[in-house]
């Protein structure tokens, strides 16, 4: 049987982590201003960018 690829599983795990992080109720936690930017705006883009960076790291790694 073909072994499930670890890269694919890691990416899917990122997706499963991302879903609760980017939806309510967690999304209602950031309030007010962070470093001069509305907290929610900052939070959304930061989490999103983090997911992308992790995905890039997982997908582009040379070793399997």
């Amino acid at each position: 049987m073909k072994q499930a690829s670890p890269t694919r599983q890691r990416l899917a795990a990122l997706s499963l982590i991302g879903a609760p992080l980017l939806t309510f109720p967690l999304l209602s936690l950031p309030e007010g201003n962070w470093i001069g930017v509305p907290a929610q705006f900052f939070y959304l883009f930061a989490v999103w960018a983090g997911l992308i960076a992790l995905a890039a790291w997982v997908a582009e790694r040379k070793d399997k």
Partner: protein, 903 residues
């Protein structure tokens, strides 16, 4: 300065550049040097960002705050599910699938009914989306011209219609230039990737302009917005929108793979599965970048145009224009044009393929004699061109009928909800073998009807095109049938409401009907092929699922009509080589060949039509469902068995290797034992022979002189002593090696051991006239060892030394030193020394210094091996440092006990 003609000119130049890029891409593809790299693939996915993103997001942000982001978060999360997307790509490659309609139809038994149904849903569903592009381009043009006050169109010509017509011509020229309708459109993909770059740069440019030129950066913009209660509302999305937020993410996540153009780009145009690895992060990164400035622009527009009439959908244009930045406005216009044309091109090409393959061709093949024409590839192109025109026309009609009542994003979401209806049939088809044709039809019809009733028709009603009684009061006045509060389900926005009901009905019907009906034989086979696509490496099962008769001539004829002669012969040649035949004329007419022909045809006219066509020229035997299930079952079992077998054989191999190693070791030991015995016997025989010879001489010659007798007896005695010593040492060695030796470990002062050994051998040294000196430190730490054994080592080394040094001038020197870890004893002499080879050899059993062949042996050859064993038992080392002619230093160390052992 911005005249209509200048704008038209600029647009034409831009289109010409696009053509050049596409032409270049096609030329490279024809030359076999594809320019579609992982990066180009990832960028081409950004065809997802249409006018909606470019103009509509800002508009959405002015009313919904951050909620515009959901449309881009959904795709990010969906794309991370690489396994799902990879499976779609693999299935499509294996089955030569060219559209989403083809995918669903092929899975559920190559059904023409399903292919048609999916096509109709896709066309109707996507029409509002195309209308959105028309509306956006028209609005942007209006904004640009309104500002400059020029009006270049005659009053009787509707600018939106003109745009639709131009886009149709452009798409036709662009996407269906080839007569060959089955290839990928590599040129188009390259052009789309190029457009993606243009629209991103344009949007970033306007974003930076608004944020940093019109305002003092993000901080100031947000501060001013927060000061106004109306705008502050946009900065924080409260939890009451949680349902809508999640629904939008789900909706956009489905849209990214099920929109016909996304399916086309992600699946059909994929040249290499590994490109997905790049797309999985590069495309989300693109989405993130293009969205960073959306909220700032929206806030900037609201702040700037306070108290004036404005259209938030065109803020990206009107803001630069308000500051007189006309060149930037033009760049933005080109960016918006990019977004719209990219979407329209890919969407209409994908839809026209579906309309042609899954709607028109089956109908033509069934009801006209067109199937008998010689070359049909020309006709395919004509149908596709007509379909493109028709789709754009429908888009225009929808724009006229309902476009005015909605903002851009509102229109787009209607389309998203329509394509979401494909989800149950698609996912079910990929992962659930029991899902069948009847279930898919029921689910799609149910979901689509709900969508029509709760979303599309109300959009017409809103613009007053049809009566809105069914929205306000419910159909036939029944309150439970209110279109946007079905069965009293209120409190949701219209999109979430539609998504919830339509997916519930769709999924419910799909599952319920699938579980209560039985698939036919063909479906069961296809289900297996789709769900287990990664395990289906061999095509054995495929070929067993077809029985019948066919003729090469008829198959060839069929292929030539749809693919053209040259292409047919090329493909057949390649297939023959794969089967190991020299030319395709010699191919056996079997199930494999028929499958190949059908797959080739499916690439051109869709799997449903291909099946009908192939069936028309072959005599296929009907295989019952039971038999198909048996064959599939058998195949599954065989796979399971072979897996077990593989595992077993691997285990067996490992065990064999282990056994072999053990056997090897045993042989070695056996050989060592033999060697040992033969050496021992040899060593014992030498003294025995000499004793026997001398004894015989004494026995036979009674008149021998006394002095001779004495000498002989002396030799006999010394040989006996040697023999005894040899036997003792052999016993000692055997004990040491077998681990049965007795050790009495206690604290030992090495100095005492050395002194005693030197004393006991003093006589021997004096007899030979050899000088023995010692160099012992004042104090020396105690070691843990067996005192007698250490003495044995010392005596052995000293007696070796005295044996090899020359008489009278010989010198032997013993030196003891100690550091924190060990004591070190050196026994040095000024004898003949040893060669490097000898340094190693002397520690082997029965090997002695000097030439044993010529010289009389001076020892037993066991002293050093025994000494080494003893020293190593205490954890030390014994070695020799020497050079020929320079004497030898025998060195051994004994470790000191660790600190915890000392206590």
């Amino acid at each position: 300065m911005l005249s209509g003609w200048f704008i038209l000119f600029l647009s034409t130049v831009y289109m010409a550049i696009l053509f050049a890029v596409a032409r270049f891409g096609d030329a490279r593809a024809d030359a076999g040097k594809s320019i579609i790299s992982a990066n180009v693939y990832a960028l081409s996915l950004a065809v997802y960002c249409t006018s909606w993103t470019f103009y509509g997001s800002v508009g959405r942000a002015t009313s919904g705050g951050l909620s515009f982001l959901t449309i881009y978060i959904g795709p990010t999360l969906m794309l991370l599910m690489t396994g799902v997307i990879l499976k779609m790509i693999r299935i499509s490659k294996v089955n030569r699938i060219t559209s989403i309609a083809d995918f669903i139809a092929s899975r559920y038994g190559k059904s023409q009914l399903l292919a048609g149904l999916v096509t109709i849903i896709a066309v109707i569903g996507v029409v509002p989306y195309i209308a959105l592009q028309l509306k956006a381009v028209s609005a942007s043009l209006e904004a640009l011209l309104h500002e400059s006050g020029s009006d270049f169109l005659p009053w009787w010509l509707d600018s939106t219609f003109l745009i639709a017509a131009l886009l149709a011509v452009f798409t036709i020229l662009f996407g269906t230039r080839h007569l060959d309708a089955t290839e990928r459109h590599e040129g188009m993909v390259a052009a789309i990737a190029f457009e993606s770059v243009v629209k991103l740069l344009a949007f970033l440019a306007v974003g930076v302009f608004v944020t940093y030129s019109m305002f003092d950066g993000l901080g100031e913009l947000f501060q001013r917005a927060a000061a106004s209660p109306e705008l502050a509302r946009l900065l924080q999305t409260d939890a009451s929108r949680a349902g809508t937020w999640t629904a939008m993410i789900l909706l956009s996540g489905l849209a990214i793979i099920f929109l016909p153009r996304q399916f086309q780009i992600i699946v059909v145009e994929n040249v290499d599965e590994s490109h997905l690895k790049r797309a999985v992060w590069l495309f989300p990164l693109y989405l993130l970048l293009i969205n960073i400035f959306v909220l700032p622009i929206a806030l900037g527009g609201l702040l700037h145009f306070q108290g004036q009439p404005f259209n938030p959908d065109t803020f990206v244009l009107t803001l630069p224009l308000a500051r007189g930045a006309e060149m930037l406005a033009l760049l933005v216009f080109i960016g918006g044009l990019s977004a719209a044309t990219g979407m329209v091109i890919v969407e209409t090409i994908a839809l026209s393929t579906m309309v042609c393959n899954d709607l028109v061709m089956p109908w033509l093949l069934r009801y006209s004699r067109i199937g008998e024409r010689k070359d049909l590839s020309r006709l395919l192109i004509v149908i596709r061109r007509a379909a493109i025109t028709l789709i754009l026309l429908l888009g225009y009609v929808y724009f006229r009928a309902a476009g005015e009542a909605y903002a851009l994003v509102g229109i787009g979401l209607i389309s998203f909800a329509a394509v979401a209806q494909f989800a149950p049939a698609m996912f079910g088809g990929m992962y659930w073998k029991q899902g069948n044709h009847a279930g898919a039809v029921a689910g799609l019809l149910g979901g689509f009807s709900v969508w029509l009733y709760t979303l599309l028709l109300p959009s017409f009603a809103r613009s007053g095109w049809i009566g809105n009684g069914f929205v306000e009061n419910g159909l036939f006045g029944i309150a439970g049938l209110k279109a946007q509060a079905l069965f009293g389900l209120g409190g949701l926005d219209e999109i979430s409401h539609c998504l919830w009901w339509s997916l519930l009905v769709n999924l419910g019907l799909y599952i319920a009907v699938s579980l209560t009906t039985r698939p036919d034989a063909l479906e069961a086979g296809q289900a297996e092929r789709f769900v287990d696509v990664f395990r289906h490496s061999g095509r054995e099962t495929d070929t067993r699922l077809w029985r019948g008769r066919a003729s090469m001539e008829e198959l060839l004829n069929l292929l030539e009509r749809f693919l053209g002669k040259a292409r047919t012969h090329k493909q057949l040649g390649a297939y023959a080589r794969k089967r190991g035949t020299t030319s395709w004329q010699k191919l056996p007419i079997d199930a494999g060949l028929v499958h190949f022909a059908e797959a080739q045809l499916a690439g051109a006219i869709g799997s449903a039509s291909a099946r009908v066509m192939v069936a028309s020229v072959t005599q296929e035997e009907d295989i019952g469902l039971e038999e198909v299930l048996d064959i599939l079952d058998e195949a599954t079992q065989v796979r399971a068995y072979s897996r077990n077998l593989e595992a077993k054989s691997r285990e067996l191999e490992a065990a064999t290797t282990e056994l072999r190693a053990v056997n090897e070791r045993l042989r070695e030991l056996d050989k060592m034992k033999d060697d040992f015995i033969s050496t021992v016997t040899h060593e014992l025989r030498t003294p025995l022979t000499s004793i026997r010879a001398l004894s015989e001489m004494l026995h036979e010659d009674p008149r021998m002189e006394l002095s001779d007798r004495k000498r002989f007896l002396g030799i006999i005695v010394s040989e006996t002593v040697r023999l005894t010593r040899l036997i003792n040492q052999i016993l000692d060695m055997a004990k040491l090696e077998s681990g049965r030796a007795e050790w009495t470990t206690s604290e030992v002062d090495v100095r005492e051991v050395i002194r005693e050994s030197m004393d006991s051998l003093e006589q021997l040294f004096r007899e030979k006239g050899v000088m023995l000196t010692g160099e012992l430190p004042e104090t020396c730490p105690l070691v843990m060892a067996d005192r007698d054994r250490l003495t044995q080592v010392m005596i052995n080394l000293l007696s070796n030394a005295v044996k090899f040094v020359p008489g009278e001038t010989g010198k032997v020197h013993v030196r003891l030193s100690a550091d924190t870890e060990r004591v070190r004893i050196v026994v040095g002499d000024n004898g003949p020394g040893l060669t490097a080879d000898e340094c190693n050899v002397i520690f082997e059993k029965f090997r002695q210094g000097g030439n044993t062949m010529t010289d009389k042996p001076q020892g037993t050859g066991l002293g050093l091996p025994i000494s080494r064993q003893i020293v190593e038992y205490f954890g030390g080392n014994l070695w020799v440092e020497s050079e020929p002619g320079a004497g030898a230093n025998f060195i051994f160390t004994v470790p000191l006990p660790g600190p915890e052992e000392q206590q």
